[in-house]
Every structure is written in C-alpha cells, then in structure tokens.
C-alpha cells in the first residue's frame, strides 16, 4: 500500500471541489472495499476524499418509492422493516453482503461506485429499475442503474461526481438467491435476482456474481410469462438462462457447475418471489 492523505469535506460543494482539485483522488465511503484494494495494490490513490460528514445517511419512503442516501450503512437499510416487507429481494441481497460487522460500515453508494462483478446489490437494483442520483460540478443528474454500471469496476461516474442516492420507484415482490462456499465474507459463485412488476405481473430477472457485471435477462423473464409460471414456463426459462448467460470458470466454480446453478437459483428465486413483498 502506498501512503495516502485523507480529507473529510463538510459539504457537498467542498467535496466536489476537493475531487476537482485532484482527479486521481479516491472516494471513501465505508471503506470496506476501497481500503482492501489499496492494501493489495489493485487501486492507487494518494488522497482520499471521505464522505462521512455529508448528510447522506438517509432512508426515505414516499408512498411506494424509496430513496436511499448513498452513505447509509447497509446494516441500517437491512433494519428498516419496510425494506424487508416491501422489497424482500433487496433485503436478502443486503444480508448477503459481508458480515454484520462489515455491514455496519459498508454503504450502498460504495457498493455501486466500486462496481465489483460480485456485487450482491447490483443484480437486485437492476430488477427494481433503480435510479442513481449523481451530483457533480455541473449539478445533478440521474441514471438508471443499467447505464451507471458499465463493466467490472467501471461506472458512468464523471470527474468529481459523487453518488448521492439510490432511488427505487416502487415496492416489488422480489427475491435474491446466491450460492457460495461460505455464507459470510465470501462472494457468490452465482446469484439470481427476480422481481415482479405490479402493473402487469411480468418478471424482471438478473444474474450476478460473474464478470464483467450483473445483467438483466429479458428473454428469461419473457419465458416466465406473467404471474405464477407454469412448470413448462419455469423449465423453459431455466433452460434459456443456462443457455444464454455467458459463464466463466474460475477458482470458485467451473463453468459447468455455474450452468446448472443458473436454473436452480432461478427456480428458487421465482418460488420465493411469488411469496411476498410489493405494495402494502
């Protein structure tokens, strides 16, 4: 690790100014991913801009819509009873991140900004049509999560831009299923997120845990049909998923294992996604 200096601006303007004055500065939220990458030399920064003094540790429900401040620790998101009840897929995904102790510091903004292929949150946020609110030198803008996360460790975040909040437009019946060797502090061999769109009963399906990034699978969702899928539809969707998803072998799992896993996790997630959540 190379030594770094730390600044903790007291306002958004000061934070943006600090990032403008040093294009190579790192952005520090909870630090659970960034500090590790700095230690292991995967990321280099001589200066970190800490977001800890910004007033973004917030969680706001407006009717069925949820806005999550980017520096809210994941443990606080998990402890919101409405998140558990109305967005069960998100609740399950948050619980899949690290451990209780890690989630006391890790944040949703950090998870998105670091854009690890193993992110547990990105696949679920894709199925929930989440939007990312950004603030930077030119003011604020909003991007759908699908256009924010570009590739492994790469996002659409511009120079001196910060993630201010994550917005989920509506409560949805949803579920998240993963497979990994160790339940905590490990990353998944594969993960599947599903959500049901209340308006038409149609499904959103995303796969995660594999490089380069989590992806929506519209053809698989289409194969599921609307509402409760028939056995035939479920089989067709599982076949489609294991055929379509570009899978790799690495030290966590073989390609063949992952190919079987996609269908299995899809079935489990759909069964759970039928169970509950969505508008109160």
């Amino acid at each position: 690790m190379t030594p770094f200096s730390l600044v903790a601006p007291a306002s958004v303007d000061e934070a943006v100014a600090a990032l403008r004055s040093d294009a190579a500065a790192g952005i520090l939220a909870g630090g659970t991913d960034l500090l590790l990458d700095l230690d292991e030399g995967r990321t280099r920064a001589e200066r970190l801009v800490s977001l800890r003094r910004l007033p973004w540790r917030t969680l706001d429900w407006t009717g069925e819509a949820l806005a999550i401040g980017s520096t809210l620790p994941l443990r606080e998101l998990e402890d919101d009873p409405d998140v558990r009840r109305r967005l069960p897929g998100l609740w399950q995904a948050v619980r899949a991140v690290g451990s209780v102790a890690l989630r006391h510091r890790a944040t949703i903004g950090g998870n998105l900004g670091r854009a690890a292929p193993a992110s547990d949150l990105i696949p679920v946020l894709l199925t929930l049509d989440a939007e990312i609110e950004l603030v930077g030198p030119a003011g604020t803008r909003t991007l759908p999560v699908d256009r924010f996360v570009l590739a492994s460790r790469r996002t659409a975040l511009g120079p001196a831009e910060l993630i201010r909040s994550v917005r989920i437009p509506a409560a949805r019946a949803s579920a998240y299923r993963w497979q990994r060797v160790r339940p905590a502090n490990d990353i998944s061999q594969l993960a599947v997120a599903v959500a049901r769109v209340a308006a038409d009963g149609g499904w959103r399906v995303a796969v995660g845990g594999i490089p380069p990034r989590a992806t929506l699978l519209p053809d698989v969702a289409e194969a599921l049909g609307r509402g409760r899928p028939t056995d035939a539809a479920l089989r067709a969707a599982a076949d489609r998923a294991s055929r379509d998803v570009a899978l790799v072998a690495d030290r966590r799992a073989s390609e063949e294992y992952r190919r079987r896993l996609v269908g299995t996790l899809l079935r489990r997630a759909v069964a759970d996604g039928l169970g509950g959540g969505g508008p109160a």
Binding site: F4, L6, D39, E46, L48, H104, R105, A184
Partner: protein
C-alpha cells in the same frame, strides 16, 4: 501523506492521540499506539473477524476502519471485559463452554457477540446471535463449542 491528532474514547477513557497518519487503521492504533494487544490481526482483509471491536456499540472490523474516520466515537475492546456487562456476559459464556482452543480468534468472536447483545438486546434470539458470528473464522473448535456458548447465553437470558 499527512498526520493529525485524533481523539477517541477507548474502554471508557478519553485518549488524545498525537499525530496519527491519515492512513492508519484502528487496528494499528489499538495494538501499537495504545498497547491493547487483545484485538488480534488475522487476515487484515476483512475475512476473518479476529479484529472485531465495537464502535459506538456496533461491531466493526478494525482492519478496514481508518482511525480518522471515527473521531469522537466510543471504542470497546476485549480489555473492557469485567467492566462492560454485555462484554462480560459474552466472555463468560465462551469460558464456561470452553468455546476456544488456541484463543487467537476469541476476542473477535466475543466482541461480535457483545455487539449483537447491544444491538438487539440481552434477549436477542439465538439466530441473530449466531448471525453476528458468521463473519468470524475459528480454525480450532469446529464451531460446536461456540454454538453451545451462544445457546447457554440464550438460555440464561432475562
């Protein structure tokens, strides 16, 4: 790189630290600056939980926390056993169940358990108490004795 003074409360005492480098981890501040060697360094990558301490009552990985990121907070380490009632309860449960062998991981386990007692109350359900320990690795016990310690703690809950 710069360094600045830092003020924390550690185990009930205010400690004013002379210039602490910006990139210093809480783990190193506790062990090498304050001599509190009960907090262990295991993996230093957030995988093993051996460095778990409480920051304002919440379990925290000291290896992934910058000292300057937690100014003015209350830090609790294993050295406060016998003083903090929740910590003492967790420690005693581990001792009675012989939930340790080499003992290296034990302070991390005990602090993770203590954190859950503070977060969810002394009558926290057993699944929450075990959930608190998922991020801690033990290479000796096979976890059976640790699970017995948690069950015993739960049985004596008020």
């Amino acid at each position: 790189m710069t360094a600045a003074p830092a003020t924390l409360r550690v185990n009930g005492a205010t400690v004013a630290l002379t210039p602490v480098p910006d990139d210093e981890r809480l783990l190193d501040t506790l062990r090498w600056r304050l001599g509190l060697l009960g907090t262990k360094e295991g993996c230093r990558t957030g995988d093993c939980g051996a460095c778990t301490v409480l920051v304002d009552g919440r379990s925290t990985l000291a290896c992934l926390t910058l000292t300057h990121e937690i100014p003015g907070t209350e830090v609790l380490t294993i050295e406060a056993a016998g003083v903090d009632p929740d910590l003492e309860r967790a420690r005693a449960a581990f001792a009675r169940a012989s939930a340790l062998q080499c003992g290296y991981c034990t302070p991390g386990f005990v602090l993770a358990l203590t954190g859950m007692l503070k977060e969810r109350g002394r009558d926290a359900p057993a699944d929450e108490l075990l959930d608190a320990l998922q991020g801690n690795l033990c290479r000796c016990t096979g976890y059976a004795a640790i699970a017995r310690a948690v069950a015993a703690l739960r049985a004596e809950a008020p």
